[in-house]
């Protein structure tokens, strides 16, 4: 059997993606709007009388068929951002500012009832530790058939068949579809969770640390699977992880978060080979690379800041080797460069484009992809 070379990633047009969907778009969708656009999102958690400013002004966009990686360490707000997109925040969490536009529809303004239309059908999520989120007393295929049956109004038999198809697509053989969760290994359960996220044919799937508790070989399998699904189904992915190296292999663009804000964002190659923000540089440098001779690793001294009373100005300043007086006083503005990178750092006060702040999507995505 001869091998065919894998074609380079062609930019998929909105029509291509949306044409592949089985279920119709939401009624209010704007066919010309970008898939997802997040502007200045602020999500805070109530703690007693104060607010923990977990996500404090995050903006980014996602184009059709794109894979965006969100990276950062613990407590940087990446999971909170994801939960804000699907509005599944814990009881004391609240979106206090900004907008999340899906096909041009602002989800933040929607009531919980209205949000249910979009949740899982347009945007779904594979949660952290998802493999423990399966109901132990219900067979796996029934758990996946459930949203298909009730959300998409499909008869039970058809829903079950689709569930079995989905499981097969994620690599669980048909004859194991009627297994109970405890009969499956960790990797298989993670695949089942991915199938469940795909149940209603969403446009966007968010994976929150999808491979973190898995063995490295299973991790490679799952990432490979996500890659394949993205190609075959025209999915758009948001992958959230603290492990930058996972993003290097699967994403088109990477967003690096620190303490609730965006530090840097751009095409994956630029972020890894020419990081601008001091935090990104250190973060990239703290991953050991088996494939090179480099054995020395970067150290970031200090601790992430307290998000109850964050430091004024740039939140990374206390740990930054390049901190200047202005850094502790003024929040660094976001600046965009012609190679598609967006940075928020006083070391880069001006860009080589005239745009400052605002949305990232103006014509950037196609350009990014051809530059990769």
């Amino acid at each position: 059997m001869t091998e065919q070379p894998i074609p380079a990633m062609l930019p998929l047009s909105p029509a291509d993606i949306r044409g592949r969907r089985q279920w119709p778009l939401p009624k209010l969708a704007d066919p010309n709007a970008p898939l997802l656009e997040v502007r200045d999102l602020k999500t805070h958690f109530r703690l007693g009388r104060a607010w923990v400013r977990a996500v404090d002004g995050v903006s980014f966009g996602l184009a059709d068929g794109e894979a965006l990686g969100i990276a950062g360490e613990s407590a940087c707000g990446k999971t909170t951002t994801a939960l804000s997109l699907v509005q599944l925040l814990p009881g004391n969490g609240k979106i206090r500012g900004g907008s999340v536009e899906l096909f041009g529809i602002d989800l933040v303004q929607k009531s919980e009832r209205a949000m249910q239309r979009y949740r899982w059908r347009e945007i779904s999520m594979v949660f952290q530790g998802a493999m423990n989120a399966l109901n132990p007393v219900i067979r796996v295929r029934d758990q996946i058939a459930e949203p298909i049956q009730y959300r998409l109004d499909q008869p039970e038999a058809a829903a079950r068949q689709r569930a079995i198809d989905l499981l097969d697509m994620v690599g669980i053989p048909r004859k194991r579809a009627d297994a109970y969760p405890h009969e499956l290994s960790g990797g298989m359960r993670q695949r089942a969770m991915i199938a469940m996220a795909l149940a209603c044919d969403p446009a966007i799937v968010i994976g929150d640390e999808p491979t973190t508790a898995l063995d490295v070989m299973v991790q490679a399998q799952i990432l490979d699977l996500l890659e394949r699904l993205r190609r075959d189904l025209g999915l758009s992915l948001i992958l959230i992880t603290h492990d930058l190296s996972v993003l290097a292999e699967t994403c088109d663009r990477v967003l690096v978060m620190y303490a609730g804000r965006v530090a840097e964002e751009g095409p994956v190659r630029r972020i890894f080979t020419a990081p601008r923000h001091p935090y990104t540089r250190k973060l990239v440098g703290s991953f050991p690379n088996l494939h090179t001779d480099r054995r020395s690793l970067a150290v970031i001294q200090g601790q992430p800041p307290d998000l109850l009373t964050p430091p004024p100005g740039c939140r990374f300043a206390p740990r930054c080797d390049f901190a200047m007086p202005v850094c502790t006083e003024v929040v660094p503005p976001e600046v965009r460069f012609s190679d598609g990178v967006r940075v928020a750092c006083h070391l880069f006060p001006t860009s080589d484009i005239a745009t400052v702040g605002g949305s990232t999507l103006e014509g950037s995505t196609l350009g990014d992809m051809t530059q990769r």
Binding site: S74, G186, Q219, H242, V268, R269, L290, L297, V299
Partner: protein, 367 residues
């Protein structure tokens, strides 16, 4: 450098209770063969990394060495003395002073009700180390400071929930150092920590090795971390060692297909070049259950280079020179610059093949 620890023919089998139906039907009792015959030799002052995925037996091996788990067969020799059957009190205590364990989860290793001071004091009290309370205080403070928690007094009175993950792990390290061990078994000591903190902790462990003449058995599933810290690497699969050798040899010239596959899927913070997907050998399926180990070479069910002999005869660890050994019938032939990795098909799969079985067939046919 003399040999500090030697393990020969170590086996740890956990018997599985048979259901009554099985007893009646005369089915033989089976066991989970967590460790199924390994030999290890750790030299004084070295860092030996024991690498493997879940189910490989690496953690069980570590637990047997620190005598938390009993071995089913095999011998353990420490500093020339046989310590295999040390389960009576007095000599076991002396052994515990010389061999300690750093646990994986800094959030679980510390008793939430104990102060940091009591945590570090406990090994001293239990082993009657230190001639007076004052002397013990000095030892506690010095252990905390050696682990990077300065000033010791501020940390000593705290409870675990007041500390961050990295700080807790330092406390765990201090607790292990307090008795003055020679061999430290570290079971995934940094896996649960943020990446930037890992570096500090790894550096700390290497510094302590120099200062206190420690020897480490470093257990990890992450080959990249082993690469950073280890002098020698041993790769385990389903209870046996597949390959062992100097770290840079094992990684750059692997002689066992499993090692080569692990190396190829180790994540690297370098995006693949445009138009080329990373050459990864992604094994199909998952590690078989340790109660049903395949016949012949236990890796044969997933090996991309499997042939007839593999399914029948289990290869021993074949010495390949330069301190490297591998348990593979093809190891001796894999002498090219890339080792056995050069013989592997890469991960490029034709489009349209959905099922893993078909992928496997494709990669086999390409061989």
């Amino acid at each position: 450098m003399s040999e500090l620890l030697r393990v020969s023919g170590l086996q740890v089998h956990f018997p599985i209770r048979r259901a009554l139906g099985d007893v009646v039907r005369g089915r033989a009792a089976s066991a989970v063969r967590a460790v199924d015959g390994i030999d290890l030799s750790i030299q004084e002052g070295e860092v030996l990394a024991l690498v493997g995925e879940s189910g490989s037996g690496k953690t069980t091996t570590g637990r047997v060495i620190v005598k938390l788990t009993r071995q089913t067969a095999g011998r353990v020799t420490f500093d020339g003395q046989d310590v295999t059957d040390l389960w009576g009190t007095r000599r076991l205590r002396a052994y515990r002073r010389r061999v300690q364990l750093i646990f994986q989860d800094p959030y679980e290793t510390l008793d939430p009700k104990q102060t940091i001071h009591d945590f570090v004091a406990e090994p001293l009290e239990v082993n009657h180390i230190g001639r007076s309370a004052a002397e013990r205080e000095v030892m506690i403070a010095s252990a905390l400071e050696a682990a990077g928690l300065r000033p010791a007094a501020t940390y000593a009175s705290r409870h675990p929930h007041e500390l961050s993950g990295g700080q807790r792990q330092r406390v765990v390290i201090a607790g292990a150092l307090a008795v003055g061990p020679e061999l430290v078994v570290a079971d995934e000591p940094v896996s649960m920590l943020d990446v930037s903190i890992r570096t500090e902790l790894l550096r700390l462990m290497l510094d302590l090795r120099k200062e206190r003449h420690l020897t480490y058995l470093f257990i990890t599933h992450d080959l990249s971390i082993a690469w950073v810290i280890a002098d020698r690497i041993a790769v385990m699969y389903l209870g046996k060692i597949m390959e062992i050798g100097p770290a840079n040899r094992v990684i750059s010239v692997p002689r066992h297909p499993y090692t080569a596959a692990l190396v190829s899927v180790a994540p690297s913070p370098e995006p693949p070049a445009p138009g080329e997907r990373a050459k990864r050998t992604i094994l199909v399926g998952e590690t078989p259950d340790a109660s049903a180990i395949p016949a012949g070479c236990r890796f044969n069910t997933r090996c991309p280079l499997v042939f007839d002999r593999c399914r029948v005869e289990e290869p021993p660890l074949i010495d390949l020179g330069d301190g490297q050994s591998a348990a593979c019938w093809l190891a001796e032939q894999a002498t090219s610059t890339g080792g056995i990795a050069d013989m592997l098909p890469n991960a490029r799969r034709p489009l349209g093949l959905a099922s893993p079985a078909a992928q496997r067939l494709a990669s086999q046919a390409a061989l």
